[in-house]
């Protein structure tokens, strides 16, 4: 007498011939190291986002037509608000389990982008992007951009004063693009700011187009990972020609499931206990109202800081006005992401001149130039991120905002260079110590 599970397995096997490929793929070796779990944390956050987001979408109305708020939140009763804001209020105050879902969703978004960034740093500093993994590096950048897009379109939806201000700034950056800006701005909003169509469009992007892109790109990311197999840290018995690790099934699968449960657990705790994006305190969006301090979600903070620090350079080139936000809002971010995406080729061509396949990870110090560029980039990102709060810091520390802004401007130029130089020196010195033999990963495979 076979068990029902065995019977079911046999039923499928008799139709799909599953046993032979399964035994091959399920026994894949999965090298384990805690930093390899960062990407999984991002993926599990995405799953949480898809589920909680579906729940939220059942209650949200992407409509900017106004009505009078008459819900249970007393301070806003009788206020004219958009239907979108009203539906967010109802979701938060009247739908049972609505607020916890909304807050888990928002926290999951913050963790999602954070895990992607940490995962990227891990891949960068250990050289995991080298041949043959350049493609997955680029797909990873696309995933990051989609995640940023998902975050921005998402937090704009409640039509509250904070997100409306963010939208106003984004529109101004769009407007700054030479030749195309005004047209792009108008067709994005469906007319002059604030427009009446933008919420519906943001909603469509947020619940359909961007998630579809994320899922498609993540699938490609995983298929390529599976095909190329995982990288591994150098160690006894580990070479460029083998993979050493836990079997995918059952051990690694169960570790991953356990991590999945932990990710949900932590996001639930955050969503339950820590208030986030309290739109009722911000109030509905009015184009003539604003409050200080106004700050975006953390992953937009670096852009906000760049806009704050960039000097007031507005000039005319061949009769065309180049608006001030064009460089810090469009050109610099575009250049940064292009540089990051092209890094595997830049490094291969100008630094390592190494065209071989690599599967063993490197230590940070192994390529001092890469470590230096990474340290420069991370320092720059941190400085402009902190500068995104310059008004709050100036008030807290009781210093002049202008003076502080100038300090940040100097820091954004010099600190990254210093960090890069220092990193290079340290890596170089560590490498030249006799006690530090070049690891196996440096040796070119036969």
């Amino acid at each position: 007498m076979t068990s029902p599970v065995d019977a079911l397995a046999r039923w499928f096997d008799e139709r799909l011939r599953l046993a032979s490929p399964s035994s091959k793929y399920l026994r894949k070796a999965f090298p384990s190291h805690w930093t390899f779990l960062l990407g999984e944390i991002a993926m599990f956050s995405l799953v949480v986002l898809l589920f909680t987001g579906t729940f939220l979408a059942l209650f949200y109305t992407p409509d900017s037509r106004t009505l009078i708020y008459d819900g249970p939140y007393a301070p806003l009763q009788g206020t004219e608000v958009s239907a979108a804001f009203d539906s967010t209020m109802r979701l938060s105050f009247e739908v049972r389990a609505g607020l916890v879902m909304r807050q888990i969703h928002h926290w999951a978004a913050l963790v999602f982008v954070g895990a992607i960034v940490l995962h990227m740093l891990r891949v960068f500093f250990t050289g995991a992007f080298r041949k043959p993994r350049e493609l997955n590096w680029v797909i990873g950048i696309v995933l990051l951009l989609l995640a940023l897009g998902a975050g921005f379109t998402g937090y704009s939806l409640p039509d509250d004063l904070l997100s409306g201000t963010g939208l106003r700034i984004a529109y101004s950056v769009l407007l700054s693009i030479p030749l195309l800006g005004p047209l792009l701005g108008f067709i994005t909003l469906g007319g002059e700011f604030p427009g009446t169509d933008v919420l519906g469009r943001l909603h469509l992007m947020h619940v359909l187009l961007i998630p579809a892109g994320l899922v498609a790109m993540l699938t490609a990311h995983l298929v390529i990972l599976f095909r190329q197999r995982h990288t591994q840290k150098p160690g006894p018995g580990r070479t460029e020609r083998n993979v050493v690790g836990e079997p995918l099934f059952p051990t690694q699968a169960m570790v991953s499931l356990s991590l999945f449960a932990f990710v949900i657990a932590v996001l639930s705790l955050l969503g339950g206990l820590f208030e986030i994006n309290p739109v009722w305190l911000y109030g509905p969006y009015e184009p003539f109202a604003v409050f200080a301090p106004a700050q975006p979600d953390w992953y937009i903070g670096w852009l906000e800081g760049l806009l704050r620090l960039w000097p007031a350079w507005e000039f005319t080139l061949f009769g065309i006005t180049i608006p001030e936000p064009f460089l810090p809002g469009v050109v610099i971010p575009g250049m940064l992401f292009t540089l990051i995406g092209a890094w595997p080729w830049i490094e291969q061509r100008y630094i390592t001149k190494d065209d071989a396949e690599h599967h063993l990870l490197q230590r940070i110090r192994d390529v001092p130039q890469r470590a230096a560029v990474g340290a420069t980039g991370v320092t720059f990102a941190l400085v402009i991120f902190v500068a995104g709060s310059n008004d709050v810091l100036a008030a807290d520390w009781g210093v002049s905002l202008n003076a502080l802004t100038n300090v940040f401007r100097a820091s954004a130029v010099f600190l990254p260079l210093l960090a890069g130089l220092a990193t290079y020196r340290i890596a170089d010195r560590l490498n030249s110590r006799p006690s530090s033999p070049t690891p196996e990963s440096q040796a070119a495979p036969p």
């Binding site: 070796a29 049972r96 807050q103 043959p132 106003r168 700034i169 101004s172 407007l175 700054s176 693009i177 030479p178 800006g181 005004p182 047209l183 108008f186 067709i187 909003l189 007319g191 002059e192 700011f193 604030p194 427009g195 169509d197 469009r201 095909r227 018995g237 020609r241 993979v243 050493v244 836990e246 079997p247 059952p250 051990t251 169960m254 570790v255 356990s258 449960a261 932990f262 949900i264 657990a265 932590v266 639930s268 705790l269 969503g271 339950g272 206990l273 184009p287 003539f288 109202a289 604003v290 301090p293 000097p311 007031a312 350079w313 507005e314 065309i320 006005t321 608006p323 001030e324 396949e357």
Partner: protein
């Protein structure tokens, strides 16, 4: 140390792990029951979060123990064949499908070029429907709802008497005829009672009424409302990116990323002493755009 010793210690370890995992799963079950109770009795955000944490945390701990202690699978060592195909496989592929190495015939080159042309032109044509998403900017970015004789009104829609505004006071104003959000968004302005002894408006500034001036409230940097007025130093501060504008000197930029002054509104009074505009702002309001110095529509 004998092998039986090791064996019994291993069993003990597994027993302990089993108990631990069992407790973790029991916690998860308890928390799930708690979720039922909380939801059915009306819901409570903090409790929901904590119970979800306990439920999923229990599952996570249980599975973690299971994977790490009970599933003691030996480490696998797999071969990693090179990722590229062998020369024979490549040769076989080229033989069957033809390679890019052979010289293309002129006929093929000709057709490929035309196909690329067709694809490009069709691709551009298929972008056209996106143009339907909104009207073009036309003159909208150059004009607001202000015009000669338009009364200034407060956010509540009340007209303003010139004598009602005291020194250092600031009021957000709109044109009386502006009713839609679009009209109010680009026409918003601040009316300020300046200290007469500090006024130093540049030559050729629009008309003022005594010590009253009105500037566009939209920051010329990224379009936030310039909402913070620091009367003591005579400056407007944008809360978004901290541009400051000197209200006594025609809203000239004092610091921050803004590229030009806030446009000023020409002010006057009607027969009853109520404030009116004498025309639109001098130039486009808000953030810059590429052709802002052109004035289409024969405005000159």
């Amino acid at each position: 140390m004998s092998t039986t010793d090791e064996g019994s210690r291993q069993r003990e370890r597994e027993d302990r792990a089993t108990r631990g995992a069992a407790v973790a799963f029991l916690v998860a079950i308890g928390a799930a029951i708690g979720l039922f109770v909380v939801y059915l009795s009306g819901g409570q955000t903090q409790l929901e979060g904590v119970l979800l944490f306990a439920a999923f945390g229990g599952v996570g701990v249980g599975l973690g123990i299971w994977a790490k202690v009970l599933l003691r699978e030996p480490e696998l060592v797999e071969d990693r064949p090179p990722l590229h195909s062998s020369p024979e496989e490549r040769a076989e592929f080229v033989k069957v499908y033809g390679g890019a190495t052979g010289t293309p015939t002129p006929r093929r080159r000709f057709l490929v070029r035309l196909l690329v042309g067709a694809g490009t032109s069709l691709g551009l044509a298929l972008l056209l429907p996106f143009r339907s998403l909104g009207p073009g900017p036309e003159n909208e970015l150059f004009t607001t709802s202000w015009s000669d004789g338009e009364h200034l009104v407060t956010t509540e829609g009340e007209r303003i008497r010139a004598t009602d505004i005291v020194t250092d006071q600031i009021v957000t104003v709109f044109p009386e005829s502006a009713t839609t959000p679009e009209q109010r968004a680009d026409s918003q302005a601040v009316l300020i009672g300046l200290r007469a002894d500090r006024m130093a408006l540049p030559e050729g500034s629009p008309a003022t009424v005594e010590n009253l001036v009105a500037y566009s409230k939209i920051c010329t940097h990224a379009g936030c409302p310039v909402g913070l007025y620091r009367a003591a130093v005579g400056e407007l501060l944008c809360p978004c990116h901290q541009s400051t504008f000197d209200v006594n000197e025609g809203a000239r930029v004092r610091s921050g990323p803004a590229g030009r002054p806030l446009p000023q509104l020409p002010l006057g009074t009607d027969d009853e002493g109520l404030l009116i505009a004498l025309g639109d702002f001098e130039g486009p309001v808000g953030p810059a755009f590429w052709n802002m110095t052109d004035r289409p529509g024969g405005d000159a």
